[in-house]
Symmetry: C2
DNA sequence: TTGTACGCGTTATCAA
DNA sequence: TTGATAACGCGTACAA
């Protein structure tokens, strides 16, 4: 076993001082050609690399980004991480991931932990519990400490920081417009409870699209699923709720689901009701997922471009981190959505 | 803005020495009740928390685990991360994620970067390129440096370290046995090229199951897909290959696919060939994914228990990190698979 | 009971 | 051209 070598050890072996070694390795002209070569050869032989921790302590910069997300087993978040990581490595940063598991407490703990020197800034999407309780003191505290935050997707309006969001309103409008244009008359929406801003915006888009086409919205066609953690039993719960929606509203001929799971479940229920897709009923989802592409029939969706969200978020954060005069000016970047037509629409 | 407070600042404010503050905060009896209270009150007010970086430097332990995986947009890996994170936080560790993107170079770079003090140990799954090139010097180097590694799923036999694997052989045997028991006579396997040990083992399981049932394996029923990075065009490539398999072997009445994507694609092709599932052809996959559960019809699969893999890997690693006398004894833990019957088998 | 000194690994400044 | 010293933030052995 040969543990990592340090400047000190090199210095001792070569009979020079630590600072000489340090300078030699950085090609400082202060050091003679001779010793420079000697030191570099030795360092190379022993595969010397500066210790990141020591550098972090000295520079007061860790060159790592903390990502806090509610759930990693989720295609959208995973795409976002991918995007973040891509620009992070490109700009010399590492990425440390904390999962809140949709819990307020875990979100707070995780952030406090990482904020104690482990990271230079955060990129995060808020947990459901946090959104529900509307307790954002941890975000405020961390910003107060001078640690920048970039929020994405599930953002908090009350917090003043950079944000990257998907164009939920416009995307939803496009989705519903597509259904209308293709002949659906009675369009249901399967959405989340209102405290999730994402669901709220998509619901608004649904209503606006209806309005633009002079269609009277009907309360009975709006299903707000109680959005808890996804467990096996809960899944059945969603299915039951959607089943009820279909049974009580035999006239439904179009469905806009605010996420992939709801859309897929709606397809399943439609099949159970012997409705043909897309002939009898059109379905459209909102997601970036794998399910949509590989479902049968292929699900038409509004793609969220999660990767772009991540890339943009990382750029915003790193720009802020590396700007000398960190101006107190924040922006909200909106990433456009895209309608991907597959087989569940006509 | 109120930046993080340090021991030094507390000491200065209170007119005592740094070590007094340090001791007071740890309830040392060396310090008088009086100053202890005073210090603690002050620290609490200013929300003092020790700086992780300084602690890491001092203790020569970062209390963080480096995870290196080929691809985060992948349900199995995501489950594994989930498992790792769960036991990591429970035992006071953070998790830093590096993506190799199936590239040898990125794998090496990422590991070298993190090995310079950022992490205490690695949990990793090897990239395809690394497996293909069979160049494992970076693993050796890092182990040499005294940094423990736990490999999972795509392991490397030549490297001496702890490993956690799914029981690919047994799982594959069970899958094929299920097909045989349910009446399939001509069972095809859709697998990867041999350099992926996982694919190799599953292929062996397929052959063993056939053998156990006195069925002669047929070369023409074995499809080894050229397993590159998954892109849109590549996806079509797989589909074509499978289509060819079906067309050239009209007698196929059972398919064992070594991953979810192949299985789903096989289902698609079967539909195109007007084969009823499971009446005319049974299909079974090998995965932990979401696709299987939500596909139509629901895909029967061998579940890999990714979460368990992650949990076990994290336990092995942390145990090793925290054992005083890090014995040079390594184990390979095998996580059992489970047959989950859905609608693609009879 | 409190404080001093040292070390973790590095770099920057200043002195030799 | 080289080296000693201080500093980043913390904990601790030892001295006062």
């Amino acid at each position: 076993m040969k543990p990592k070598i340090t400047l000190k050890q090199i210095a001792r072996e070569l009979g020079v001082s630590i600072s000489t070694v340090s300078k030699a390795l950085k090609d400082s002209t202060e050091i003679s050609e001779d010793t420079r070569e000697k030191v570099k050869a030795f360092a190379k032989f022993y595969n010397y690399r500066p210790n990141n921790i020591a550098l972090s302590l000295k520079n007061r910069k860790t060159k790592t980004i903390g990502i806090i997300i509610p759930d990693i087993v989720h295609h959208f978040f995973t795409k976002v991480i991918n995007g973040i990581e891509e620009v992070a490595v490109k700009r010399g940063y590492s990425v440390i991931v904390g999962l809140s598991n949709e819990s307020f407490e875990k979100e707070v703990l995780n952030m406090e932990m990482l904020a104690n020197g482990s990271i230079d800034g955060f990129i995060l999407s808020t947990s459901k519990e946090t959104l529900m309780q509307q307790d954002y003191h941890h975000f405020k505290d961390i910003l107060e400490e001078g640690i920048p935050i970039v929020m994405f997707d599930r953002i908090v309006d009350e917090i003043n920081c950079d944000k990257v969001v998907v164009d939920d309103l416009e995307g939803a409008k496009n989705a519903v417009q597509k259904l209308i244009s293709s002949g659906s008359k009675n369009i249901a929406i399967i959405t989340t409870k209102d405290y999730i801003n994402v669901g709220r915006l998509r619901t608004r888009g649904y209503l606006e699209a209806l309005h633009n086409n002079n269609i009277e919205p009907k309360e009975r066609l709006v299903l707000k699923v109680d959005d808890k953690l996804i467990t096996e039993e809960y899944l059945e719960g969603i299915e039951k709720e959607i089943q009820l929606l279909f049974e009580n509203n035999k006239d439904i001929d179009g469905v806009f689901a605010v996420n992939e799971l709801y859309a897929i479940t709606a397809m399943k229920v439609a099949r159970l009701c012997n409705k043909r897709i897309p002939e009898d009923i059109q379905i459209i989802g909102f997601t970036d997922g794998v399910l949509s592409r590989h479902s049968y029939p292929g699900l038409t969706t509004i793609s969220q471009h999660g990767r772009e969200v991540g890339k943009k978020a990382a750029e915003l954060l790193i720009d802020k981190l590396e700007s000398e005069n960190f101006e107190e000016t924040y922006q909200t970047v909106i990433i456009n959505t895209e309608l991907i037509e597959r087989e569940t629409t006509r």
